[in-house]
Symmetry: C2
Subunit: 291 residues, 2 copies
DNA sequence: TTTGTTGTTTCACTATTTGAAACTTAATCT
DNA sequence: AGATTAAGTTTCAAATAGTGAAACAACAAA
């Protein structure tokens, strides 16, 4: 495949010069990004997306890079322990070095440590499942979770990703992005119809965003998973920038939208507290919607 | 020059450590890097090692790379969301994209998911703190933990690193490496004396390794932290390869080495069970000692 | 204002990366 | 067994992407 057209050394959508001048700020390309490092990270993402060990040939099929290049990138990543290779099958999976790096990331760049006491409280008071999320490349990244009852089930949940356009936290966060950011994010949504209730058009979303901005919170009306509903609020910095999202989730078997809505004041109040703490802790904040 | 060509596609057995750090901090983390990707990852590691947001100037002081190069690397990483930059202070910290990647890594390349039920059992039976670790670049990387009583405290613990030469799990794992692997690992240890009991010479360690191999388990006799002791065992694959380590930890206030030793059979049995499960789940295993 | 510190860009030079193709296993078929 | 196909690895000339001294901008302090 990939004949002459794409295999250019540096996949640049805009045939500018080799030297990217300051010019157009961050025209962040989602993928195929900057230099060799960007390519390597793409490969990492690709491998991670399989959620199981993958062999070289399979990767080659899904990757735009020519065989030799892909091979070298993988070699490098493996040497760096960013990938682990099964000695028997030769299959690759994300490496443990990532776990170490993520520890630092979670502690420093996520809202989780700051929000912890607050979501503990919220969980106790609402008696429901709580999700704390942030935006990452247009997707919802869950950074913490409280199960109503059971002991925490952390790492297996933190790091999970979900769609931005059909989850409560997703919509709550998107609704408060700037128009530019939103445009960028929407362009990256798949608009897959998960359930009959899923909103699959920009227009439908846009309308809903207005309601969300008006009320301050969003609902997930079984849009991602049948029987699962939630109420969610954005966590906004002083400057009005979206730094995260918070939600209370339940199943239609045990609760109703009306009941969840009764938690709205508590939810908003918690989101507010988290925002304040984040501010005073000089939280890095950098929560741009693009990648 | 700083970046001398390694170019060999296949890493030379012992890559000379070219990036010599001046006024090296405590992190024994500097490993050579292949190509630009390696350098970028070095920078990531460096930033992560600060455990707080760092500004450019500070990084420049600790990094072997010239200003412009460092700058570009950081730019790229930030672009890729591997780093987050505080919009106000301009300080950098590890980015959330890492959290997402780590989720995949933790699930696929760590022993944690497989070992979970077993360490739950062990924790219940021993009523002590349990650590599950793996080797990462000569250091001990904790991938899971059970606190005797309190609910799990996951992400805040998983991803943590510790020295290999003066922790129970560390010694248990090192003792069962091949001589070549061990040599490589020992070369990367700092041999910092944490407490009066810390073993600070290769010889002392070597002797201890023999005992560990004989008994099958290792002790930490306050070598890393005063008052903290533990008993640890390696988790070995069928082929005898070290795939992880497991430990039972206590404080001298509440327990003794003798009491911990009484758990030895249980500990070894658990390690064995985990190994079996790992094997049958075709665990990637790739647990080479070098980076 | 000047000075100093920190962060950003330039630009000539070149070393690293590139990728088609050749090659070496490892598996599968006849 | 030998022949055939697929998977993975290495080569090598070409050129892109990376380098880093130094100039530059932005901003704070003197």
């Amino acid at each position: 495949m990939v004949s002459k057209a794409i295999h250019g050394k540096f996949v640049n959508p805009f045939p500018e010069d080799k030297h990217r001048k300051q010019g157009d700020a961050r025209m962040t390309e989602s993928k195929g990004g900057d230099g060799t490092v960007g390519k390597a990270l793409d490969v990492l993402d690709l491998i991670a997306s399989f959620n199981r060990p993958v062999r070289f040939a399979e990767l080659q099929g899904k990757s735009p890079f020519p065989k030799a290049t892909l091979y070298r990138l993988i070699q490098t990543l493996t040497h760096q322990n960013m990938l682990a290779q099964d000695p028997d099958t030769g299959a690759y999976s994300p490496g443990i070095r990532l776990v170490r790096l993520a520890h630092a990331a979670w502690q420093q760049s996520s809202l989780a440590p700051i929000a912890r006491p607050h979501i503990d409280d919220l969980s106790r008071q609402a008696g429901q499942t709580i999700h704390l999320a942030q935006l990452d490349g247009g997707q919802v990244l869950y950074v913490d979770k409280r199960n109503a009852r059971e002991p925490v089930d952390m790492f297996s949940q933190a790091g999970k990703v979900g769609p931005g356009y059909c989850t409560g936290v997703g919509k709550a966060m998107l609704a408060f992005l700037t128009e530019t950011e939103l445009e960028a994010v929407l362009a990256r949504q798949s608009f897959h119809r998960f359930t009959p209730s899923t909103l699959t058009t920009k227009d439908a979303l846009w309308t809903e965003f207005e309601e969300i901005r008006a009320s301050g919170y969003a609902f997930d009306r079984e849009e991602h998973e049948a029987g699962i509903i939630c109420i969610a609020a954005p966590i906004l910095s002083n400057g009005g920038r979206v730094i995260g999202g918070l939600s209370i989730t339940g199943t239609l078997l045990k609760t109703t939208l009306a009941e969840l809505e009764s938690f709205a004041p508590l939810l908003l109040q918690t989101a507010q507290k988290i925002a304040e703490d984040a501010e005073s802790w000089r939280f890095p904040g950098q929560q741009t919607a693009n990648r």
